[in-house]
């Protein structure tokens, strides 16, 4: 047999008999499993998830579920094909032994694999003081149970809600409170809401939007402590500026923590920013060498992106979970040169205060911004972000139909400021500083982060073992 024929035979055999294990039974895990079957993988497939529920969708949790329109248990994701998988739900993976190719489970079982897909995502960063976090009425918002609990608390008409952290989730929750006519205070350490994700210029607009809707927005302050009553129910919060806020529901929306602890000791490049992998989802080992048997997708992955100077991007975005899992699944059952990259242009949507906010590209990668269409006053506009004379991202407020246009420009590395689309011109088309916080300034953490090494910033030091 020729080498090529032998390799083709190996691929055929793997697709028929290989054992694939997916850890993380949510969006990336489910779509990855479906893609494996669509790619012709017919071998045994095991899906491990620590939540007791089958895969469900998270974006509705902070929107229609909080509002009470849709029950939290109505968010199970549609299945697009039969999976014929072995589901291990309600049990966490606690370790990975790459030498013997086993995933270790909390119940003591060891699951063997030939190829593994890591899709363990992120979890909510809890309120840092555990005693205060345990007070009744203090919530985070990541899971179905979180959303169900917080929704019940809102339905009981609290006298005031305090939202700590004005990123997307905090801002969406504040918006729902106002929809429900519940008084809400938002405390944000940064200069404005969404400033980590979209910068200070857009942040100012978001701030005005919150105030217009009656949110008591306090920026540039932190919450120092929470205080409960004798019954252990939260009643007030002390702020860093010396003021207090009386609230009986508190939502800590402080960003997320990547679920990588179970990979400790596995020798993978797993850490604070997630699991490093190439653009095809192949996990890097601790030395930066791509593995052949371990893949990563979704919120927990970080990969170099060709459009962003090959810097590593960690993206907590819905479509990144879908497309990253599909690319990884394809590569798991194919060989080079048939590998496929996940070259997704990052994209995000958010609904708050009656406005549809969408972004494409990586806004924090840019340092300038220009309004290109529409009117800020009407909350209906598009703006583009630039860096060194090229367009790197765009954001729209109630102008989603134009996003594709900007996405194309970004993919072509078109000049910044971009050619005006010639429709709906704004009054002022002068680029200005986008006003992102300096690294290290605490804000609600952006949901796309450049996590790579920037050659201009020599901050890390490499000391090989002697």
């Amino acid at each position: 047999m020729t080498v090529a024929a032998t390799l083709a035979e190996l691929v055929r055999d793997f697709r028929a008999n290989g054992r694939i294990v997916i850890v993380g039974a949510s969006l990336a895990g489910l779509r990855g499993a479906e893609a494996l079957r669509a790619e012709g993988f017919t071998g045994p497939l095991t899906i491990i998830g620590d939540e007791p529920y089958e895969p469900y969708d998270r974006p509705p949790l902070s929107k229609q579920v909080l509002k009470g329109w849709v029950p939290a248990d109505h968010t199970a994701l549609p299945r697009l094909r039969a999976l014929d998988a072995q589901w291990r739900l309600g049990v966490a993976a606690t370790g990975l032994d790459r030498a013997t190719k086993h995933v270790l489970l909390a119940d003591g079982e060891q699951v063997p694999y030939d190829r593994l897909l890591i899709a363990t995502g992120t979890r909510a960063r809890p309120w840092p003081n555990p005693d205060e976090a345990a007070l009744e009425g203090v919530y985070t918002l990541r899971s179905r149970d979180d959303a169900a609990g917080l929704q019940r608390a809102l339905a009981a008409r609290p006298s005031r809600v305090l939202v700590i952290g004005a990123g997307f989730i905090g801002s969406e929750a504040a918006s729902v409170c106002r929809d429900l006519d519940i008084p809400v205070t938002v405390a944000e350490r940064g200069s404005a809401p969404l400033v980590g994700a979209l910068g200070g210029v857009i942040g100012e607009i978001a701030a005005q939007m919150q105030r217009d809707h009656g949110v008591d927005l306090r920026c540039g302050v932190g919450v120092s402590s929470l205080e409960g009553d004798a019954g252990g129910h939260v009643r007030r919060a002390h702020l860093s500026d010396g003021t207090t806020v009386a609230a009986d529901v508190v939502l800590a929306s402080l960003g997320s923590i990547r679920n990588v602890e179970w990979l400790e000791g596995s020798g993978l490049a797993a850490g604070f920013w997630g699991v490093g992998c190439d653009a095809g989802g192949r996990a890097f080992d601790i030395n930066g060498v791509a593995t052949d048997s371990v893949y990563v997708a979704g919120d927990v992955a970080r990969a170099p992106h060709v459009l962003y100077e090959y810097q590593f991007l960690a993206m907590e975005h819905w479509d990144n979970a879908v497309l990253g899992a599909q690319a990884a699944a394809h590569n798991m059952v194919n060989l080079e040169p048939h590998y496929r990259p996940n070259l997704l242009l990052p994209g995000f949507w958010s609904g708050q205060f009656g406005v549809n906010i969408k972004s494409v590209g990586v806004p924090p990668f840019g340092d300038e911004i220009v309004f290109t269409q529409g009117s800020v006053k009407d909350r209906r506009f598009a703006a583009a972000y630039g860096r060194r004379g090229r367009i790197v991202a765009a954001v729209t407020f109630n102008h989603g139909r134009w996003l594709e246009y900007y996405g194309r420009l970004i993919q072509e590395s078109a000049p910044f400021p971009p050619p005006p689309p010639g429709w709906d011109r704004p009054d002022d088309m002068k680029p200005m500083p986008a006003d992102f916080p300096e690294p290290g300034v605490p804000t609600a953490v952006p949901d796309v982060v450049l996590t790579g090494h920037d050659p201009n910033e020599r901050r890390a030091e490499f000391r090989p073992r002697r």
């Binding site: 007791p52 089958e54 969708d57 974006p59 509705p60 929107k63 229609q64 329109w69 849709v70 109505h74 968010t75 199970a76 994701l77 549609p78 299945r79 697009l80 094909r81 039969a82 072995q86 589901w87 291990r88 739900l89 309600g90 819905w318 479509d319 879908v322 994209g347 995000f348 949507w349 609904g351 205060f353 009656g354 406005v355 549809n356 969408k358 209906r380 109630n398 102008h399 989603g400 139909r401 996003l403």
Partner: protein, 72 residues
């Protein structure tokens, strides 16, 4: 039945809102919200909405409940 809307794709054309107003709603001018688990009785309506969506953003489950079988 289960559905999900890829809101990255959705451009707020509201075709779905006209065809299945109990399932799809606009929250403001452009922000679509929807019931991800509508009654089976609305299947025809939802399928019409999915077909009418100009960007094919509505994903409708293609599996019968029996085939979903999840061991817990």
């Amino acid at each position: 039945m289960r559905i999900v809307v890829d809101l990255n794709r959705c451009q707020g054309y509201a075709q779905c809102v006209f065809l299945a107003p109990e399932v799809f709603q606009l929250n403001g001018e452009e922000a679509l919200v929807y019931e991800p688990n509508p009654d089976d009785g609305r299947r025809l309506q939802v399928e019409r909405a999915a077909a009418a969506c100009p960007v094919q953003a509505i994903v409708v489950e293609r599996l019968a409940a029996a085939e979903r079988s999840v061991a817990s």
